[in-house]
Symmetry: D2
Subunit: 348 residues, 4 copies
């Protein structure tokens, strides 16, 4: 276990990078000492982002893998999809700690090509990366140093279904996920879809059954419950800045009381600091987790239709990106996974 203190961020000017800068400022051990972007000029970061004034005295530098490893103890890739797959090799070869927030190392080569419509990373590199669902750290990953941080929708969905999938309780023919996300999930780029007038006072479904987080959900569920091969998954846009709300409707393979289902959830998550299972029939809302690394989960069973409704909520920028990334680095650094992440939601 190496001592990790000096942190570099590649892709520091996107939403994910800026959230890392915000959260890491509170971390008692990790200290951001270098920030990188892809453009040629090298401004100070607070000249580009005035809200960082007085908090960081850093200059954006051009990417240089050798210098990053020389001067830092770990690096976050907060880059768009298709970037880190071309940058990762020297870090993987050097076993240098990397948390990759992009989708480049989450899937098999063929799945990546199919869902991202891009050339995948080299398969030998892919094999050395580990999918890092931080609340379920894998035993065999103890030596992995390249962590593929899960997607935001995937995190919320997998934590909603894990207790059932791990016990082979999901009926693979009856799993419907209606997922909704705030706008920050769509990133910084300008598009008609992110224009205020088109989002405010609106709600729209996009990419039904085509979202690129679907394969990583299926891949992980399949590991837990072999019979799962696909999932019904739609994504919609909420007129809010942050938050993911998963409404999952599932049937079970066994006849089991709502109380027993609830018990399964509380047991599974008893020692997970960041997962809060509500009382049976109490459903969480987005505000309770925005600004935190929590996943709140609620359950409601309909005896007429035999559908179980599972609601899970996260902050897509924290638990769904930067927060889970820090949680993963905490684990890699041998720290309690809550280090620097004990955040409470704003009530008003």
């Amino acid at each position: 276990m190496q001592h990790i203190q000096k942190i570099a961020i590649v892709g520091a000017t996107g939403y994910g990078g800026l959230e890392l800068l915000r959260l890491l400022h509170q971390h008692p051990q990790f200290n951001v000492t270098a920030v990188y972007n892809t453009s040629a000029d090298n401004p100070t970061i607070d000249s580009v982002f005035p809200h960082l004034k007085g908090m960081y005295n850093l200059t954006l530098s051009s990417f240089d893998s050798r210098l990053i490893m020389q001067n830092n103890d770990a690096v976050f890739f907060a880059t768009s999809s298709g970037v880190s797959k071309d940058l990762a090799q020297p870090f993987i070869e050097a076993k240098f700690p990397v948390i990759d927030l992009s989708g480049d190392f989450r899937l098999t080569a063929s799945d990546y090509q199919h869902w991202y419509h891009k050339q995948p990373a080299d398969p030998t590199l892919l094999q050395q990366a580990e999918y890092g669902l931080a609340d379920f750290p894998t035993d065999d990953g103890i030596n992995a140093t390249y962590i593929a941080n899960p997607g935001c929708y995937a995190t919320a969905t997998l934590l909603a279904l894990a207790p059932l999938a791990q016990h082979d309780l999901l009926d693979p023919d009856n799993m419907i996920i209606d997922a909704k996300s705030g706008l920050s999930g769509a990133g910084k780029s300008l598009s008609t879809a992110s224009h205020f007038i088109n989002v405010n006072e609106n709600f729209s479904m996009y990419k039904p059954n085509e979202h690129q987080h679907i394969p990583e959900i299926v891949q992980q569920l399949h590991k837990w419950q072999n019979s799962i091969k696909t999932i019904q998954f739609t994504t919609s846009l909420l007129p809010i800045n942050r938050g993911i709300f998963i409404s999952a409707y599932v049937k079970l393979t066994q006849d089991i009381t709502p109380e027993a289902i609830h018990k399964l959830y509380t047991t599974t998550y008893a020692n997970k600091s960041f997962i809060r299972v509500q009382a049976l029939n109490e459903l969480p809302n987005i505000k309770s987790v925005v600004g935190t690394n929590f996943t709140d989960i609620g359950l409601s069973y309909n005896p007429q239709t035999r559908y179980l409704t599972i609601v899970s909520v996260i902050d897509n920028m924290i638990k769904g990106a930067a927060g889970q990334a820090i949680q993963n680095l905490n684990l890699l650094a041998g720290l309690p996974d809550t280090t620097g992440l004990s955040l409470i939601a704003a009530y008003a």
Copy 2:
């Protein structure tokens, strides 16, 4: 067919009543001449609602069934549930035209008691009321004069499913409705749930499988497709003023191509002025219908899971309340159902 011109509104100070006043001001034949509320004092309506200044010169009066029928040609009940059931009798006996926006006359007595937790109307009165899904006017209702205007969620859901239910195509075990509504659906009363701080930047599910619109949905679907006895139905609150978004996930009883399903929808709705079926795989959003009496419907089929996703959107205050009520009175008055309702959504 009677000539209907002078209109009274009972419950004019609630959201539904105010929306009737707004829409009827544009109607070429109907003219609001009397407004009623339940409180004792009798202010002018524009002193209570300054936005009506210059548009209506009316005084709120106390309810008097005899005077209403004497001075008007038809009446809208825009009252809360539990009110019109005690006021309806003289109107029904006189066969005086009534459009009732509340839930009091939509259900059987036992369903009403079960879902509304209130004493139902007299069953002999209930029998004389007709459930008025305005885009599917019933042949046998030609002599009914007491129209139970459908609920907002029910309208959007029934129009989403009608073409399938009417052809016995819905698999009753696989119908999941994830419904979302803007805040105006919850009405004017003050509650923690309607406080700005608790709604803004939030999203929450409420009353899962317990919303009082469920029985009217099941009742009507059952008329269309005898095998339907229940439905999986959850409701969530969107941080917007207006709009309902229905995400329906259904499996079909027959193997049928997406193109054929789409054809069924376009055929069913070919002559319905207020229903617009999008091209296959194009999904409507809320903004396209807010401010209008339209229902926009979109379809997307997932061959892996065999689930059909149906999206339908309406303005809950117009198609889901006041607009459909006017559409119903248009039909009763022998006018084209679009009279006074050819409204276009604001784009910006």
Copy 3:
């Protein structure tokens, strides 16, 4: 007075043009028969804007002044600034009725150049256009057929100050306007400033004392009160779709009671259908006018500081653009100015 019925819209795909299409659909006499844009292809308008489906059966055509005049009775220019100045000449020469929603014909050539940083229209053309503040139609403009429709901020500000300026009551050294607008005022173009994440839950001031509506405000105030040569004017962005809120703080040149000031306002606006002066000390809010052509005005006097606070609110897309444009064409066509514009705000 010519009979005007067939209407063309140039720039039909911007916010202003789409709002004209929406409002004119309700007009009893004007009928949009042709729409023009600047791009080369000619799609149907409802294929580009699905919310228009079933309401307009029009194809976007390329601009052709001869055809426009041949086939129509009047034209609206809903183009960006810098466009109509190059298109206007044939219409002006033919005395063909034009309502120009852009800023191209509102100012003197030198003011235009200074504030818009563009080449102005030919001064001989400028002279033949009339600034059309619709609630104060000028006597000498009776023969003008090219109407420069006022800017949104200018409309709300001028109507807030007119009664005082017309009586030389404004102290020119103490006129502070703090103006706020919803996002639709900024138009359709994509920019960091219109990205949802940057607008939602935010408020920002922009272009302090540099907004291009300032010179048209000063120009008109100066006509009313010769001593006015400049104005303190800031503009801010509200996280809402529509609405302008003007907070004007002024000192008066005479000692006059609040009641007398209020009387001056009610007298000035007694016969203006679209201006509603609230009771003294009652201040209007944006919701009361959104969706309407109204200007609501409120007054509050502070005897300690001797500042009069004037609040005026409009819907920037209606009274501030398309609505006033129709009001102006109503006047040109000899119709009551309220024709097709008797709209009530949505309460919920």
Copy 4:
């Protein structure tokens, strides 16, 4: 200087109290060990506020001054106005450290009675309290232990004007403050004004020249610049959760260049950790400070009108309430005032 570690909060269930709980959870030295409310029952705080689950294990107790002082080192009063004036005496007499977030100890008895319409605290108690504008700690307050934490509007306004007032540069006849606040400033109580439908997509001015923060602004400005006796001050409601935006328009008593004014600001605030003066002509927006204890200030001068526009922005719940309260207790405890308050705004 006493060692302060154990903290009690009286009024822990209001917005201010909940924000204290949220922020103090991050504080390295202060530790909330007791929470009080006024109701009779004693639930655990996380049963009432699920978002606190896992973060605080506290039971709400009934107020008892003796027990509070016995078991804690300092107390925050986060009570509504009119409460702490009746609770303060034993704490003041014992010189027990109190930070009072309410308005009860900010004003003279007569001002309090006039603006709050309530009986004031005992004048001998009032004299022992100190107005705690935390960025300008007073020398003579070194022994004060009862700190009246400033109001939110007052904080943002005073920091906007301090550099000018301290140099007698404000023209007392030309100071116009147009202040806007998000909804959390209005607190938790249910009212028509806080119903989502009435706030969302709206903007309204309230209490023009009557807000209860006006007298504390004037009182403090008067201390800095003797000639100031009143101020023109209006308050408006923004449709957002958090944030205050002050637009101040002032004339100066001397002819001074914009650059020199800007210099005055940067000099005054050079060593204040929480005040960030933007470059001349750059104006801050609300998002840059929400979630932080910062005050961002921008300046823009209009040579035509000779008005200086000053913009200042704060998070009303942090700098305007709980954050400044902690800053004040840091000072009282001899800690750097930034302790536990080095927070960065969320960018997305």
